[in-house]
Symmetry: C3
């Protein structure tokens, strides 16, 4: 007989995310244990409470969600959760701090609708942040030639090295985009451009974007205007502009939400899953059919 | 198909109110998200989580309750919640910090049982606090001639101006009650007296109250003895004393609780309600039949 | 008609125990109100919320669980909860900070399987801590001759005085166990030895334990190696070693969990129960048949 589904929400912020809580409820969680201000030093005892209460056969009915606005803090919590597990004593765990994994998965899935990723060249602007680096990972995983761009070449190279270490065989190029000329050169041969920059910072003017003659799809992941890719609306969901399909943050929001719910549901199908960027992208592909 | 009812409890105290939580459960809330120590700067992200998760058609199944012992803090949270809403992106919200709105509604409803408010003169003692000022507002709204009393005339005048701004046409008089003679003069023509003072402070002696020859009903809202109106028991619920119907804090507690539950239930009937003193009084009138 | 079962979890730690939360859910609690960092000064208002919301006839559907890693803090919270109650205005409350009560009950119940307690002599090592002192109380309550041992004689005497005050007629002896010779003397005539020491501290070598010629059962309550009683495994559950039945912390874990769940269930059978060591031991006996 199945037990009530308990989700342990470990959130690094002072107030635990309401967004993540509502999604968990709508994904069928029966009891939500919400913890705010979670620090790495507290994780072991919290995870023990999930591991040592229901017996090995029922471990799949308890799971852990790691969230909060700080992706680095969430990654540290996830690492500590995994360190606490041993042998069969483990529960499934998902990381989605700042929505980084579900957003990256929704963006790459949207790009794939317009362009087979294995044959594509993709430019990722602001590739060094938590969402951007995940977009780079997922595109590389799918076989795309990825240009990871940053205004700072050294940071672009760091992210390429980091992704290369995780994805052997990835086709990655670090690109500096610090001038209109550099932007134009980076866009020249790309079929896909995805902007993952900070809110309110324009990364590409409308003219610059339109100059990308090979572009099939342009995706902007910032919800606060001005958007990173000028001329795109936050609500765009495949809207054709300047000959390319455009997506804004709200436009991919529905897809992101479906992925988030499906990932929460999958947590309770076995007791040993770790859902980070790649695993969440696989879930996204499955529900997209 | 309806979704689970989620109530976001935003509480300004270090520990979120258990009282408000139990009432919410008994009013049919399925999932309660309890947040303590809530500061205005945190409200936007919390409200976004309620607004942006379930889609416009399902917004009515998520609502916000603002509570805590500090009514001014609750009012600031409510203001920020309302500022965060835009267009159809809003959920219903109720304010009942320190039980101020449900208490004021229960007191005025109890008074109305003994005396048509539109024809009455009412004296509100300690009218400058959060409960007292709400009692003044509700009585004025119902057409009563209201004497708002304080030991400090300037504060009484401030509250009258504030209520007059909210209720055009209100019949309000600021009264100083700093001596037995002033008390007696204030009581002379009143049919209703309601005391909303601090716990443990007597505002009127038994003799002074009995000197109110026109009094039909006397209500004391303090639960901690000595009560504000001497001679009344906290458990009084319409008990006749000195020729008038008397109510104490516990005596109106049952009515207050029914109002509180009805207000929580109403939150989930539409997605755009704001339940403050006046709206909660309308609910009180409706359930009183 | 019964109401949803609400359990108020008052936890003294920065993060409320997940372990206690999961057990509560699995014991049938419908709504869990989890409070962390609870201080004695906050208890009155929290308890009022449980007492004053549902009416006297429904008080049994709300209960309080006091937990956290600090047993002394939990005891202070329990004391304050009980002080807040008056007359019929009370809800049932259980203390199990650090699992002290359920662990002590499980240990004594396990010992009783191998040796009638009323005829036995029991040695309790590290008897001065919160678990050890509860084991002493329960053994004394059942009529055993109890040697309460500590490396510090004065502390052993303090615990004996304290237990004697609670259990008139208890047969208690304070014992200093600061050398192999003292250990051997203490073990000479004991049928039962229970070690309740700090994690990772060996209290008795294998040879010393084997020298207890009358020992029928040896129980170690530390889950972190090295265990207090050398030669015992944490997973032992009645394993015979050196002619005696041995139990480790994990071995009694299943019994402890059953007791914990049964105690939570019992909280909701009446509104006036206080479940501390003795009451929880009675529940343990009942479910053991």
């Amino acid at each position: 007989m199945s037990k009530p589904k308990i989700l342990l929400q470990l959130d690094s912020d002072v107030q635990a995310s309401v967004f993540d809580g509502v999604v968990a409820v709508d994904a069928g969680v029966d009891q939500l244990f919400r913890h705010s201000g979670v620090q790495v030093s507290q994780v072991r005892d919290l995870a023990y409470g999930a591991m040592f209460t229901r017996g090995v056969d029922d471990l799949q009915y308890t799971a852990i969600f790691v969230g909060g606005s700080d992706v680095a803090a969430g990654e540290a919590i996830l690492t500590q959760v995994r360190r606490t597990f041993f042998g069969p004593m483990r529960v499934s765990v998902m990381l989605d701090s700042n929505g980084a994994n579900t957003t990256a998965a929704a963006a790459v899935l949207s790009a794939a609708k317009h362009c087979p990723l294995a044959d594509a060249e993709a430019l990722v602007l602001a590739a060094t942040g938590p969402v951007g680096s995940r977009v780079v990972r997922l595109l590389a995983l799918e076989g795309a030639r990825v240009k990871a761009a940053s205004r700072n070449r050294a940071r672009a190279e760091t992210i390429c090295k980091s992704v290369a270490a995780q994805c052997p065989g990835a086709n990655l190029t670090a690109v500096e985009t610090n001038s209109p000329a550099q932007n134009q050169a980076a866009l020249e041969t790309a079929q896909i451009v995805i902007a993952a920059g900070a809110p309110g910072v324009e990364l590409l003017s409308t003219a610059a974007r339109a100059s990308g003659k090979n572009l099939l799809v342009a995706i902007d992941l910032s919800a606060v205007p001005p958007l990173g890719l000028a001329g795109i609306e936050a609500t765009d969901k495949g809207a054709e502009r300047d000959g390319m399909a455009c997506y804004g943050a709200i436009g991919i929001g529905g897809t992101k939400m479906k992925i988030h719910k499906a990932a929460i549901r999958q947590l309770f199908e076995a007791h040993d899953q770790v859902l980070d960027a790649e695993e969440i992208y696989r879930i996204a592909q499955r529900i997209a059919g």
